[in-house]
């Protein structure tokens, strides 16, 4: 298992390099311009100077090599420095700078990460916690009223897009009932009970929208996987041995059914980091998804490049984790 993991990790390096090159090339070929959003009163000569100051006058390969150096060498050294307080060299090195804010991209990401982890991560967690019991009961009592309602809700949650559910919840709970705010206050700091409650209140709507969506997907997997296992011979054997129904269901069937579900959950983790672009935009949560979409709109190429590449790394990594988990959970699967 260890050598397998190591081999996969080593193989990931060229994969990621190719991915980074493809992203860079695609962004370079896309017809967008960082000075495109500026007022037309700024004359072309000045625009040319701005582009030059962003390094856009250099050839493609040089810009790519510079980004590689900044991202793989300079930024890790910087993180190392800020963690340990030690200084490597003179401390002066080019970092990946955002074109719109002219500040280091990594700082922007670090600033946005907590909101995304809290809102989207919590929604994912709630989604899983809701999905598993519903999936189990739905499968055990197949075609019962509970199953029908569960199926209906999960189909609605799965097929109705979040930009619709989000706005519907805002109209009902913010505009009409006025229970929860529609704009996420990103300046709120949790210091006491009342600010904690305020934080909870403003997280309710975005978390609810995303949790519904996540739960709908996972419920279907749990239900299908449970149904597969419920008809297996070992279940009949367990029952014939006189094992209690509860034990049959929760120990024999559920554990076996969770093997594919765990893989699905692991593969979904990178989407937490990429944020829920639309939901964050609707509720104005300053997370990574919102950062990415503003960067795309403003042709802030270094920021888009770095963010998408980090997402690529996460996807490759969690694919590996899913595979390894599969091997650990299911003794029948061996990679060596």
């Amino acid at each position: 298992m260890f050598t397998y993991t190591l081999r996969r990790l080593l193989f990931a390096i060229p994969t990621l390099l190719v991915i980074s090159f493809v992203i860079f090339a695609l962004l370079d070929l896309a017809p967008s311009d960082p000075t495109g959003d500026l007022p037309l009163t700024i004359p072309p000569e000045v625009r040319e100077q701005i582009r030059a100051s962003l390094g856009l006058d250099q050839p493609f390969l040089i810009r790519y090599m510079k980004w590689l150096q900044q991202f793989f060498i300079n930024e890790p050294i910087n993180i190392f420095e800020s963690l340990t307080g030690w200084q490597v060299g003179d401390g002066q090195r080019m970092r990946v700078l955002s074109w719109a804010t002219r500040s280091p991209v990594v700082d922007l990401i670090v600033q946005r990460m907590p909101q995304t982890l809290w809102v989207v991560g919590l929604a994912y967690l709630f989604g899983i916690l809701i999905a598993i019991p519903i999936g189990v009961i739905s499968a055990y009592k197949q075609y019962s009223i509970f199953d029908q309602i569960g199926t209906f809700i999960s189909m609605v949650g799965y097929s109705v897009p979040t930009f619709f559910t989000g706005v519907v919840l805002i109209v009902i709970f913010s505009s009409y009932l006025q229970w929860f705010p529609s704009v996420y206050d990103t300046n709120l700091q949790v210091t006491n009970v009342s600010t904690f409650l305020a934080q909870m209140r403003q997280m309710v709507l975005p978390v609810a929208v995303l949790a519904l969506y996540n739960a709908s997907q996972i419920t279907r997997f749990v239900r299908a996987s449970m149904l597969d296992n419920l008809h297996q011979d070992y279940v009949r054997t367990a029952r014939a041995k006189g094992v209690k129904e509860k034990a049959v269901l929760l120990i024999h069937v559920l554990r076996n059914s969770l093997i594919p579900v765990v893989t699905v959950i692991a593969l979904g983790v990178p989407t937490i980091f990429s944020g829920a672009i639309i939901t964050e935009q609707i509720f104005r949560v300053n997370g990574l998804g919102q950062l990415l979409i503003t960067a795309v709109q403003g042709a802030d190429i270094p920021l888009v490049q770095t963010l998408t590449f980090i997402f690529a790394v996460l996807i490759v990594l969690f694919n590996l984790i899913a595979d390894v988990l599969y091997g650990i959970l299911d003794p029948r699967i061996r990679y060596d």
Binding site: S32, D33, L38, S53, R102, N286, A299
Partner: protein
């Protein structure tokens, strides 16, 4: 008894005093909440140039003089506006002298001096800095300080209209002490300075989350000890224009929303909620349709829309250009897309009043389908079996491009329909704004390349003097491969007569004569059909009914007088 009377009198006096003073006390009115649907990326307008950055930073850093809501110059950090009459502008027009107000302080308590002004000029003109406002300092030879309260600017050649450097929201003064190590290529490295410039304005940056929210607090060292009335400002960014308008007009969560360019009927229902109102200021924005004077036939490949392509087969006919303008009903376009935030116009220089011509309003402002049809008929453009006019095998069928934006697409549809009534066909196309205005020389869809017969967008000029703007239609400013498609004469209009008049304008110092010349230039462009001006666009913003003192300004930052804003009691 006597004591009680005294006490009562004292209380009354104190109450009266408190009542009158409530309005004139710094920080008495709590938090002002502003929403910009495009989030602010940096607070250094020299590194960005975007309107949102210029406006947000204008609460912190100020120019020497700025424009008021009528477009007149008012002194901010100086004692008076230098003119020829008061001797502030030299007789030879080669220099001007600004006198700084004494005892001015930066928000950190240090003195504001002429050295800061000189530094600002050096900062923005440093090579490799990529300063977005470099054009403000065009023609400036030197900036010097004969004494700490005097700034002398010398120009390379006589400058009849010298108010550009250090004037208006685009050209604020930054502190030399804070930015001294951030000149040129080092500018982007100074993140903390760029995110929190020290200024002389009414507010100080307390916290900045890029692309999200800015928190300001009142400047303790602001020159007027009674201002600003608000203790803090929260400037939130993100979302879209309709939801920003809703947050002010319907839910009342915010006090002011910038640039709520939303369809008029949607805005009307929001205003009906009664929490806020719209403030519109008319600057110099004109939505226009440019007519391509060069051939844009796709068969010409890379040559199209350049000099080698030759004149346009049909748009080079003055009758066609005139007819296209006559066929358009500007009132309907205005009503459908702009409402109170637009007025029909036939001028490319629509304001200020002194330079606004009315010469062409009589024939151009009114739709005249019959007249247009007759004009085309007389010029020999005959309707074919498909209803499209043609002459010698050239059909009046045009590719009509613009940027992606719901109001523009609706306008395209309306114009297409109006043109069809005079036998002119239009094929509509739109490109994403970041591509259309992007200026990428490799892209065929930019407005500079103009690979279309007609194209529509808005442009304007900063400040109140149109000289630089009118110089955009000079023959040598035609974009083409030779200058990397960098040139502002988008219609490819070229008239030696026009060039001569622009030369004359650049040498004229007398204001009345300047206005006269500007009007003549504007009229030439409309009459000869370099473009078809459509709508004089205002800047609409939404304001809460609970905020007093807002004076909407199209000539400077909308937040230019935020120091005077207060909460209505």
């Amino acid at each position: 008894m006597k004591n009680i009377k005294l006490l009562l009198a004292g209380t009354v006096a104190a109450l009266a005093f408190a009542g009158s003073a409530a309005h004139a006390e710094r920080g008495s009115d709590g938090d002002l909440k502003i929403i910009f649907w495009q989030a602010v990326s940096t607070l250094n307008p020299f590194l960005s140039g975007g309107t949102k950055e210029v406006y947000s930073s204008s609460m912190v850093i100020e120019p020497l003089a700025r424009y008021d809501e009528k477009g007149e110059l008012v002194p901010t950090l100086v004692t008076e506006i230098p003119t020829l009459e008061n001797g502030g502008v030299a007789k030879d027009l080669l220099s001007m002298t600004w006198k700084l107000k004494p005892d001015l302080k930066w928000s950190d308590g240090t003195a504001f001096t002429a050295a800061d002004v000189i530094f600002t000029w050096k900062y923005c003109t440093a090579p490799d800095g990529g300063c977005a406002q470099a054009a403000q300092y065009e023609g400036v030879k030197n900036v010097e300080a004969p004494d700490p309260l005097t700034v002398k600017i010398t120009f390379e050649e006589p400058k009849p209209y010298p108010y550009s450097a250090f004037v208006g929201a685009q050209s604020p003064i930054i502190q030399a002490a804070q930015f001294k190590d951030c000149v040129g290529a080092k500018a982007p490295g100074c993140t903390s300075a760029n995110f929190g410039p020290i200024g002389t304005g009414p507010f100080v940056v307390k916290d900045f989350k890029p692309n999200d929210v800015v928190t300001f607090v009142a400047n303790k060292n602001y020159r007027d000890s009674a201002k600003p009335a608000f203790a803090s400002v929260t400037l939130k960014g993100g979302g879209d224009a309709p939801s920003a308008a809703r947050a002010v007009l319907e839910t009342g969560e915010y006090d002011y929303a910038w640039n709520v360019q939303v369809e008029p009927e949607i805005l009307a229902t929001m205003v009906a909620a009664g929490k806020g109102h719209l403030e519109t200021a008319f600057g110099t924005n004109v939505e226009r349709i440019n007519l391509n004077w060069y051939n844009a036939d796709p068969k010409l490949g890379d040559k199209r829309s350049t000099k080698e392509a030759g004149p346009h087969p049909s748009l080079s006919d003055p009758a066609v250009r005139r007819a296209l303008s006559l066929a358009i009903d500007r009132e309907i376009i205005d009503e459908a897309g702009y409402g109170d935030a637009g007025k029909p116009t036939c001028n490319i220089v629509p304001a200020p009043e002194a330079v606004t011509s009315t010469k062409n309003d009589s024939w151009c402002l009114k739709q005249d389908i019959e007249g247009a049809n007759k004009l085309l008929e007389d010029a020999g453009w005959k309707k074919g079996p498909d209803g499209i006019r043609a002459k010698n095998g050239v059909r009046l069928s045009y590719l009509y491009s613009t940027s992606t934006n719901s109001v523009r697409q609706a306008t395209q549809e309306l114009v297409k329909d109006m043109w069809s009534q005079i036998g002119v066909q239009a094929e509509l196309r739109n490109a994403s704004a970041s591509v259309f205005f992007g200026g990428d020389p490799a892209s065929p869809d930019t407005f500079q390349k103009f690979y279309a017969d007609v194209e529509m967008y808005t442009n304007n000029f900063d400040g109140t003097d149109p000289e630089k703007y009118l110089a955009e239609w000079l023959c040598d400013k035609v974009p083409g491969p030779a200058n990397g498609w960098q040139g502002q004469n988008i219609p490819r209009y070229c008239n030696p007569e026009y060039d001569k008049l622009v030369g004359e304008l650049s040498k004229t110092a007398d204001l009345d004569k300047r206005h006269e010349l500007s009007k003549r230039l504007n009229d030439m462009l409309t009459e000869e059909g370099a473009h078809i001006p459509l709508i004089h666009r205002g800047n609409p913003s939404a304001a809460s009914n609970s905020v007093a003192g807002i004076k909407m300004n199209a000539w400077d930052s909308e937040l230019w007088n935020v120091a005077d804003w207060s909460r209505k009691k």
